[in-house]
Amino acid sequence: MSWLGVFLLALQTALGFPAASYALAATGLNLQFGYTGLSNFGMVAFLMMGAYGMAISADRGWGIWVGFALGITAAVVLALLLGIPTLRLRADYLSVVTIATAEILRLVIAARPSADLTGAARGIGGLSSNLGFFKPNFIPEGSYGIGDDFVFNSRQLWSMLVCWTLVLLATLLIRAWVRSPWGRVLRAIREDEDAARALGKNVVVYKLQSFVIGGVIGSLAGAMIALDSGSVGPARWIAPLTFALYTVVILGGAGTVWGPVVGAVVYWFVLDFADGALNNLWFDVSDTTSGAFRLTLMGIGLMLLMVFRPQGILGNKKEAFASAR
């Protein structure tokens, strides 16, 4: 592939649905981690709630709106169940419990006895035909783009349009919220929980609100992923997805309004470009080690970011949650 092709292909993912869905999920995580300082290492569980809410609704023929409602309800319940016991404890407990819960949920969903509800390991398919997600699509059939490598078809454009719109709405909403007194309390909690408590704020309630809202946004991202791919299985919802979202949040700038969006676009561009470049330089890599190489790159990137630029692209070093305490 030509270097231009590598560039355009990377650009396609960076503007397309993968980046849009990551941006949405990262927006939720950013509220929890970036603004409130909650280390939720089980973000993927909230995405799973949204995706399976949609899938179960499709399976039973309940329609798309019930699907969203199911996913959001499940996310709220999960956030309350996790948050009420752990948000009172030291921060480390939240991280251990959330990562454990996400894994439990995935295993329960994938286990054979759950087959009637979740389709177990096979998952649930046929979402787009059952839910009519692509019905309102007004974009005419055909392919749009430049050359052979930067092309979207009409369905891809529709997914992108819906998902980026949700990202925009969520981001504007969060922008308004974090500029309100409520948002200032969240940041106060992140910087110094005891000080916020000393000022008479009910810290646990604020943390719980942030946790629930972030979880709901995460479930919307999960629902979008389900709608776009048309099928939901348990294999996708593993811990590395959560950590990819952390990379996105920190890359863009944790605790900044547009950080998750910038982070998602840059994240996908860099990963896909590196993949393509590696293919160009070392031709047989995609067959054998591409996935592992990608994750190695992500892991190293996350470390380097945390050490050398914890404020990310948009962040302010003075306010960076990662600054010295």
Partner: protein, 453 residues
Amino acid sequence: MSLDRSPRTPHRFTLAALLALVLTGTFFWGSPASAQSDEADAARCAFTKAEAVEANGGPLGQSIWGRLCQVRDGKPAFPEGVEITVTQDGKEVASATTDDAGVFVVEIPGNGTYQVALDTKTLPKGFALTDADLATLGAVKVNLGDQQVTFRLGEDTRGSRDLQDYLTTAAKGLRLGLILAVAAVGLSLVYGVTGLINFAHAELVTFGAIVAFVLNDAGMPFWLCIPFAIAAGCLAGYTSDRLLWRPLRKRNMALVSQMVVSIGLSIAVRNIFLIVFGPNSRRYTAASGQREKDFGLVRLTPNDLIIMGICVVVLIGITYMLRKTRLGTAIRATADNPDLAASSGIGVNKIIAIVWIICGGMAALGGILYGLSVTVTSDMGFILLLSMFAAVVLGGLGNAYGALFGAIILGVMQETSGLFVDTAYKFVVALAVLIVVLLVRPQGLLGTKERFG
């Protein structure tokens, strides 16, 4: 509880003992639900990629492969003409039938997650799956081109258990618990002295197992590999502190940020292991040819006894070190209050370095022993990590004895839970315990109440 007025330590131990008793009681209550694997038979049916390539008459290409094998009258037998179908997201991808050596190679379009189904109707007479529910393997992940899958054939042993079976399972649980304890003590010690929850601890565990495997594979006798691999683990622990964690501590980096760094490190190293070591599971030379011996109450292999012996000796050693030696006192003092320890003349950085060395060595040993009792894979540490977390939290974060205690309870629970719930929920039990403990007794079984909020 009525024991509230008794002195503190006995109270904690009583509570823990009660819990252990209740748990043990629960195991013998439930009805057996799933088949237990016969490790000796599995060893006789072992199949490697080299053999598969030979049977296939050439490289495997992108495929899902394996061999059907059932031990009959002590000899392996191979069913011919069994149909194996591979599907992805409900669509059939490809299928193949086994040859006269029981080997099948199903070509697949590329990496991904597949379902592999065995058509039980095509099994010749005299062959059967040990568990008919396992005729379809739900999520077979293919990361690196080709992947081996195993269907267990043999007599259906469900529903015919005696006391010995239960006790044997409990003993295997004890083995797992002891291994977990060896592997997790380092996690707890490091948390104690630095406050860091180190996700990359999993990779220290894998590292030890892989170093031992590489040496073993190069021809070194297995038991001789252990000290070398432990030394490598100690070095890895020390290096990670010296090159990464110590500079970060010097920068006063927030603990949450350090945790994120450890996650990045964990993901990167795990995938490097995957690239270097490959996706298949391997066995040490000492793991083959193990037969269970009847000891009256339990049936265990010689390896089981050796593993448990090593664990007990090492755990007693580490407990003695922490309790009775100057170094142990210094470690506990640093864990209690680093500033106070420093002002009493303890070199905190030196103590932390020593803790990292102990941590690396113990993790490596845990990895080797786990690899010996199961198999060596590039992500074995990560699979153990959640159990280690659960063990550490169960016993009380940062409390080394708590980690020992929590690990043993957890190991026994995890292993014996297979007797009364679906084996798919084996890890779920461990994680559910973790969450329940946090709800009821967040400081852990042996932890002291010092939380706030």
